[in-house]
Symmetry: C2
Subunit: 141 residues, 2 copies
Amino acid sequence: MTDAVDCDIRQSLDRISSQMRRNYSESLRELNLYVGQDNLLYRLWLGDGVTQMQLCEHLKCEPPTVTNMVKSLEQNGFIYRKRDEKDARIMRIFLTDKGKELETPVEIKWRQQQEKLLKSISKKDRLILKQLMQQMESNIL
Amino acid sequence: MTDAVDCDIRQSLDRISSQMRRNYSESLRELNLYVGQDNLLYRLWLGDGVTQMQLCEHLKCEPPTVTNMVKSLEQNGFIYRKRDEKDARIMRIFLTDKGKELETPVEIKWRQQQEKLLKSISKKDRLILKQLMQQMESNIL
DNA sequence: CAATTATATTTAGCAGACTAAATATATCAC
DNA sequence: GTGATATATTTAGTCTGCTAAATATAATTG
């Protein structure tokens, strides 16, 4: 009977991710961002002019979620939208200067969050952890 | 430079928990529950007549979140609310029969979810994983 | 006992996330 | 080329979650 252990892992995972989200959310508010918006911007930092469908793919979420996130980010002046000239169904998303400027500060926040999470875990254990998480990731797809 | 590894862990954690949430949400819809409501009910299965503040404590969320969850669960007939007789500020939450009946089916869902997540991970590795997660959990509090 | 302070809950408003259904545009097939 | 189908996005409505502010009641303190 390993049920107790299994259950602890599932619940533990849940607690960690929600606590992380809370901490991270608070931290991002200093940059006037909401949690999740950083990941959308990250896709744009890799390259502008992406469609909303591509953002869905990257964020692994549904189209209406992207519509709302994009609307919010646009209203706050981090991005702007432009309809594709060849295919009028498509909206292409671009960074404003204000959006570009966030790259470095967000990366710093990421690093801080990472360091806090993995503090006091050895390099060797981090590798093991990473492998186990990759295993879990492929299990639930 | 272990930054790449650290980053993978943080992102991996995020991907796992959101994918878990998605899968789990879908699974719970079969019982007419939304994700998170099971955890609120779980507290009630341990013992009825709890206050909303105690539910906050258990769910690790803010009072307005509990207000909404309780409202939704009440409207769907899983719980009912009763004002405390001695202290009129307090609302006490009780399970209906419909709410009590969900205990077993929800536990089955939990077990299914756990098994899927940890499939192909050895007993030994599960123990290591559990310890590493406890470490992370205490890191971010 | 009246005024202040503390506690429990609710309301309003916003964010991410979802589904189902609507809209707009493109493409494909006849 | 017109009609059916496919694709991209939006709208409406739901949920969990949050913060800030309002409300109601209780306890404390002068």
